[in-house]
């Protein structure tokens, strides 16, 4: 597994890391809860046939500037600017969890700026009858098992690499959780449902069969709200961050969708 190329772009005066790898038509990836403290096998699978571009949203690993974004409009403008600067205007977009919510938003509000989209268990909705898990009110030890079917995968993603700054590394991981909270506290509900009808891009929804954060019923709700509908793929042996648990299966589904 070779390393991606790292560049940074400026969003509101803060540096945001952009990882790039592979060749072929561009495909963007916005990461899920916890962000990307390190490169992941799922992106390697995509990079086998596409140019993968993974920008870090403000406050997620590799980027700062979350704490000047006060409203959802601030976030939308920041993420749209980030995608544009990362060279992703008009590209296929994939997102997971927190990032998938912004894939939906961008596709709804700026339909010309995306080609095809794939979303893995997006945040943004809340159903009182079938509530999503409060991911922030958890004992630290329980979080990996909530996010992944195999908790060790999430632990490995977050484990401090040799030589990393032992103070700044854990702060960066907490910051990622804070950035998600800043957008989605307390219920994950950004009223995304109201904007889903604006989506025109062909849409794939991917759900880990064992998602313990967002119930599978949300996939149907989302698909129903998008005028052109959405294809729903359920991935066996996967939790909320399905791309971590089952990189091959999720990449295969995404690549089949974007063509």
């Amino acid at each position: 597994m070779s390393e991606p190329t790292t560049t940074t772009v400026d969003v509101n005066g803060h540096a945001c890391r952009v990882w790039t790898k592979g060749s072929g038509p561009k495909i963007g990836f916005l990461a899920g809860f916890g962000g990307l403290p390190r490169w992941i096998p799922f992106l390697d699978r995509l990079a086998e046939s596409r140019t993968v571009i993974a920008p870090s949203m403000p406050g997620f690993p590799g980027a700062t500037g979350h704490n000047i974004l006060d409203t959802h409009l601030d976030w939308l403008v920041a993420v749209k600017g980030l995608l544009g600067q990362a060279g992703l205007d008009g590209a296929d977009l994939v997102g997971s969890s927190v990032g998938a919510s912004f894939v939906a938003e961008v596709a709804a509000l700026w339909p010309q700026s995306v080609r095809r989209i794939a979303m893995i268990a997006p945040f943004g909705l809340f159903d009182e009858k079938d509530p999503a898990t409060d991911i922030w009110a958890q004992r630290g030890d329980d979080v990996p098992g909530l996010l992944c079917a195999n908790p060790q995968i999430y632990k490995d993603l977050k484990a401090m690499p040799p030589g990393a700054n032992s103070v700044e590394w854990p702060i960066e991981q907490t910051r990622a959780s804070e950035a998600a909270a800043r957008i989605f506290w307390p219920l994950q509900n950004t009223k995304l449902e109201r904007r889903l009808p604006l989506i025109t891009a062909p849409t794939l929804l991917i759900w880990g069969e064992g998602d313990r954060v967002i119930p599978r019923t949300y996939a149907d709700k989302i698909a129903k709200a998008i005028p052109g509908g959405a294809k729903i793929t359920t991935v066996a042996g996967a939790g909320h961050l399905a791309e971590l648990d089952q990189p091959d299966a999720v990449a295969k589904a995404v690549l089949a969708h974007v063509g």
Binding site: V167, I171, A181
Partner: protein, 435 residues
């Protein structure tokens, strides 16, 4: 030295949590079950709290305190302002310390400016205005505030309240989170330029600095006693030195749980049950509510991580770390009387024992504003009154002269007695009560 009767958090506990509470229920806070709350019993509890605080005023304590908690089985005062107002009508000279209003929870925050001004007017200028950020359990979980914005909102709300109290003309407030076209509060506080401001906090350098820059009192509200507080208060005074502030002990407050009796053995006999109720049942908080991301600033996280070696050493003393979030601390507490006393959470014993330890506390921590929790856990009203009176008669006089050389600049300046309204004698019965 000012000895304040600190009522809640300890003094407003629901006193009848079941014996198996800790085993059967995950948390005293946030999601404590409604079936445990009997409003008819709470009628008596609230009236007991008020009786106990009024009694403390009668006994000559300098102030009586109340504070704010939400969805909490050991703090039944979501609105301390209601309690303070009731106290204002039943006391005459005692300062009323509301410790305090969590500014970010009020929309608009001018509500705090208004209600505190009301209390100041009703009480004749006896209010001490406390502005806590609030615990994670109260603010982010029970009240749903965004932990990533809590402190920014708190800071802005503070600025708005202070302007609302002091500006003479109606003004527009164009804040990041609050926008009000017409800010013009009626009533206005009696105390000029504003009531004394006390800031409860813990081991955050930013909070010390923020309070010092504004010349406010910093209060370390810990349930873990003065022995655990040394690092925090040493850090606080070192920071005051760096900022060029004097070491006036009245800059600092500290909460201490106290149980006094004729003898040490009698104190153990009397206070073991309420102390174990308090530390065992009241402080049983689910750690998943301990640290919502963003609640602890990155600077404080950094300081904590950098002192991990020190923290590991502290942990081996069988006590909670000073840097751990409050609910996390609560999981590490001693819960049996021996641990509670040995660790200094509770200062107890004969009047001499208690005086000696409080002297040690005041001198080692350099604390002028001593906030005493004379009621804790399920302590009965009779025992609370005994504790309150015995302390006032046998301990307080010996503490008073301490720090006489310093001026307490952070104390209310009430109206002269001749300027104050006279309160009518209380007529207890009415047609409703007779039915």
């Amino acid at each position: 030295m000012h000895g304040c009767e600190q009522a809640p958090p300890a003094g407003s506990a629901y006193t009848e949590l079941p014996d198996d509470f800790k085993e059967k229920h995950p948390s005293v806070w946030v999601n404590i079950h409604s079936s445990l709350f009997d409003p008819k019993r709470a009628h008596h509890m609230y009236n007991d709290f008020l009786d106990e605080l009024e009694y403390a005023a009668e006994c000559g304590y300098d102030a009586i305190c109340c504070n704010e908690h939400h969805s909490n089985g050991y703090g039944l005062m979501p609105s301390p302002n209601l309690i303070a107002t009731a106290l204002a009508r039943r006391t005459t000279d005692t300062a009323i310390c509301v410790m305090g209003n969590s500014l970010a929870l009020y929309n608009p925050p001018t509500r705090v400016a208004e209600e505190f001004a009301m209390i100041d007017c009703i009480s004749g200028g006896r209010l001490i205005a406390g502005f806590p950020v609030g615990t994670p359990m109260d603010t982010t979980f029970a009240y749903g505030q965004n932990p990533s914005q809590l402190r920014e909102r708190y800071n802005e709300a503070h600025d708005l309240v202070m302007r609302a109290w002091q500006e003479k003309e109606t003004f527009a407030f164009n804040g990041r989170f609050n926008q009000q076209r017409y800010v013009n509060i009626w009533p206005r506080p009696i105390q000029e330029p504003h009531p004394p401001i006390w800031i409860p906090g813990a081991g955050s350098v930013e909070t010390w600095r923020w309070a010092a820059e504004r010349d406010y009192v910093f209060c370390y509200l810990s349930y873990y006693g003065y022995k655990m507080a040394r690092n925090v208060m040493t850090g606080f005074w070192a920071e005051m030195d760096r900022l060029g502030k004097d070491r006036n002990p009245y800059r600092a407050g500290f909460a201490q749980v106290v149980g006094v009796a004729e003898t040490r053995q009698q104190a153990m006999d009397l206070y073991t049950e309420p102390a174990e109720y308090f530390y065992g049942r009241c402080l049983h908080v689910d750690p998943r509510f301990a640290s919502p991301p963003g609640y602890t600033t990155e600077a404080t996280q950094r300081a904590g991580l950098e002192s991990q070696v020190k923290m590991a050493a502290e942990a081996s003393n069988a006590g909670p770390s000073t840097q751990a979030p409050s609910a996390m601390k609560m999981q590490m507490l001693a819960r049996d009387m021996k641990g509670i006393v040995d660790n200094g959470y509770l200062i107890t014993g004969s009047p001499d024992d208690v005086t000696e330890q409080l002297m040690d506390l005041a001198k080692t921590l350099n604390i002028g504003q001593l906030m005493l929790l004379m009621q804790f856990g399920n302590m009965s009203k009779d025992l609370t009154k005994y504790n309150t009176r015995l302390f006032a008669e046998t301990v307080m006089p010996r503490l008073k002269p301490l720090f006489d050389e310093w001026e307490n600049k952070w104390w209310p300046k009430p109206l002269r007695v001749s300027e104050r309204a006279s309160l009518p004698a209380f007529a207890g019965s009415s047609a409703v009560a007779a039915e």
